[in-house]
């Protein structure tokens, strides 16, 4: 197909093994692993064992599928963005994770892990959150299944997202302010891990993206796989070509992208992960270890982790999930960045053309599509599947200040 010839990407590697289980010791290529304090080694092993068991158990999967249907509202629709497509000259389809209960794809994973926690006999969930979406999702899943929830959130993020803080508390969760470091997601993650060390016996750490020690990157991707699998079937029904030429998603830790890509890994679709210019782990990071996994992280010359800085709190993470680092090495996915200004423009444009107010995180993916369609990087007539990871309601006050 013409589309693919135009693009200066490495030929994609055959799918065998790609986006399957990680290799021995939780590896995706050279990334991943379980770099945790000895005190968490056993807890990680237990999560791994429990997840393997659950994922192989039709009873568990059936229960999760039903919860996702009756509580979360899955399947989410695939929306053809007709008016914007007309303007851009490409055929853009949106996978609508913004329509899930709580408003972002985070709930797919939170509910999966909450169900796993009940299976493991845990009575409490621990979570970190940045924008608050994973915190709300975790608090929601906990309420639904009768678990307790403790959510760690940077003090600065709590100020920026005070309504989400209140939402979590209404849902019965305890929200713990994190005052160390940059007082954002990175520090909240550290604090959640510290807390887990002391509570492994009764608490499950519900990591919010495809990051953390093995089995989290794999497990979270599997819980998010539903996005890609649904989209695959929907594309087959809606697209003339059956499979889109491009699959695009924003990448913070990378869970919505991983879940989406997983559904198309055996197709010729080209994967694009879009990072924030100020939080480009995959595009601008170097090899490191943080929060239990080996991957690409933003670091200074001394090897200290650099704080990410983007308009989208959910992308303010200095690293990227290990599988994305691996997909990048393989050439199976490409990682690009967009600026805050492009993101604001894309947000307003989708609102006006399609009546959809995307989360600023999701608008990153759109900003790239708009740029690439304009530059010819996406040839006219290309079909593009974009995962709209969340709704923009949470961002309205930010937008109000900036637009």
């Amino acid at each position: 197909m013409q589309t693919r010839d135009v693009l200066a990407w490495r030929a994609s590697v055959a799918g065998s093994g790609v986006m399957g289980e990680p290799a021995a010791r939780g590896r995706f290529g050279e990334y991943g692993g379980r770099y945790v304090p000895e005190s968490l080694a056993e807890a990680c092993r237990e999560v791994d064992e429990a997840f393997r068991g659950a994922w192989a158990d039709p009873g568990f999967r059936g229960a999760l599928t039903r919860l996702l249907a009756v509580h979360v509202g899955r399947p989410t629709p695939l929306t053809p963005a007709w008016r914007l497509s007309g303007e851009l000259g490409v055929q853009l389809y949106l996978k609508r994770e913004d329509l899930t209960h709580t408003g972002s794809h985070k709930i797919n994973n939170a509910l999966g892990q909450a169900l796993l926690a009940t299976r493991m006999g845990r009575r409490r969930l621990i979570a970190e959150t940045g924008a608050g979406m994973h915190g709300v999702a975790t608090a929601t899943a906990a309420a639904l299944l009768g678990l307790e929830a403790t959510v760690f959130m940077g003090e600065r993020d709590m100020e920026r997202q005070s309504l989400n803080v209140f939402r979590m508390r209404l849902l019965g969760a305890e929200v713990v302010p994190v005052t160390s470091g940059s007082r954002t997601l990175k520090d909240a993650t550290s604090e959640a891990m510290r807390h887990w060390v002391g509570t492994t016996d009764d608490s499950h750490y519900c990591v919010g993206s495809v990051v953390g020690p093995d089995p989290y990157p794999w497990m979270v991707r599997e819980f998010q796989r539903v996005i890609g699998e649904e989209a695959r079937v929907q594309c087959a029904a809606e697209l003339v070509t059956g499979v889109p030429d491009h699959v695009v998603a924003c990448v913070g830790g990378g869970s919505n992208a991983a879940g989406t890509f997983a559904g198309f890994v055996d197709t010729p679709a080209r994967f694009v992960g879009v990072e924030a210019a100020g939080g480009a782990g995959a595009s601008g990071g170097r090899l490191g270890v943080l929060h239990g996994f080996r991957s690409l992280f933003l670091q200074d010359d001394e090897g200290q982790i650099i704080e990410a800085d983007s308009i989208a709190a959910g992308l303010d993470y200095p690293g990227v999930g290990p599988e994305h680092a691996h997909l990048r090495d393989l050439g199976r996915a490409r990682y690009v960045t967009v600026t805050d200004d492009e993101v604001l423009g894309a947000t307003a444009r989708l609102a006006r053309t399609e009546g959809i107010l995307p989360a600023l995180e999701s608008a990153h993916a759109l900003a790239w599509v708009i740029r690439a369609a304009g530059s010819g990087e996406l040839p006219a007539g290309s079909t593009v599947l974009l995962t709209l990871s969340g709704r923009g309601d949470k961002d309205v006050s930010t937008l109000k200040e900036l637009l």
Binding site: R25, G33, R34, Y35, V36, P37, E38, S39, A41, E42, A43, S180, G181, K186, D187, S190, M193, R194, V197, G198, T199, T200, D201, L287, G288, V289, L290, H291, G292, R294, F297, Q299, E302, G303, Q304, I305
Partner: protein
Amino acid sequence: MTNSLSNAALDQGSVERQLRARRDGGRRLLMPYVTGGITPDWTAYLRAFAAAGADAIEVGLPFSDPTLDGATIQEATDAALARGATTRQILADLAELPDLGIPLVASTYYNLVLHDGPEAFCAALRRAGVAGLIVPDLPLHEADELTGVAAAAGIELALLASPTTPEPRLAEIGRRSRGFVYAVSIMGTTGERADLAASATELTRRIKLGTDRPVLLGFGISTPEQAREAGRHADGVVVGAAVMRRVLDGAGPDDLRAFLATLRRALDQE
């Protein structure tokens, strides 16, 4: 004569040899911790530690995201980094230090080890006269990628054991650890605590079933009473947050010497 020259003469395994020798001589071991670069003349603390009767000294190389540390050592880390402390400078400071007669053990997170690569990192430690290494986020199952390199560079990589470490794994930690085994007294982060956890006793007992290496108990030991109690089961103690709390509160080397002397006495009385 600087420390780096004298230490260069040490054989591989010197940390363990020295600690074993002292333990076998009936002494309870004391390893105080200091965050490298916490003050401009931070190495003065090391001299004070030695003078107070430390048997080894743990020097923390500050990392931006000290995931396993509690509030005190986080604060110390932030303060050191804010001062501009770097691994390079800390090791240079150590290289300037005269031989204290006791081994120096670096501790840091794995990201700093990876930064220039494990070989370069271990070589730099060695050049600075550091003989041991603790990497709290490099557990047994990931340690392979460092143990060989460290050994080749003459660095003894001590592994940590925790109350939840199950049996065969604990024995493996005992086997693969070098220098000593770092027994994490409780399921938690570093930081001062009121009592010595029951888990500490049980863990040291279990470790000792599988290895004859020195076992140092750390995390939360902050008073002479705790040190004495710890000394009944373990071969010695690591004292971190209790030291750094004082340093952050403005205590100078002499204050720390006095404080450590109380711990020394408590250990010796046992």
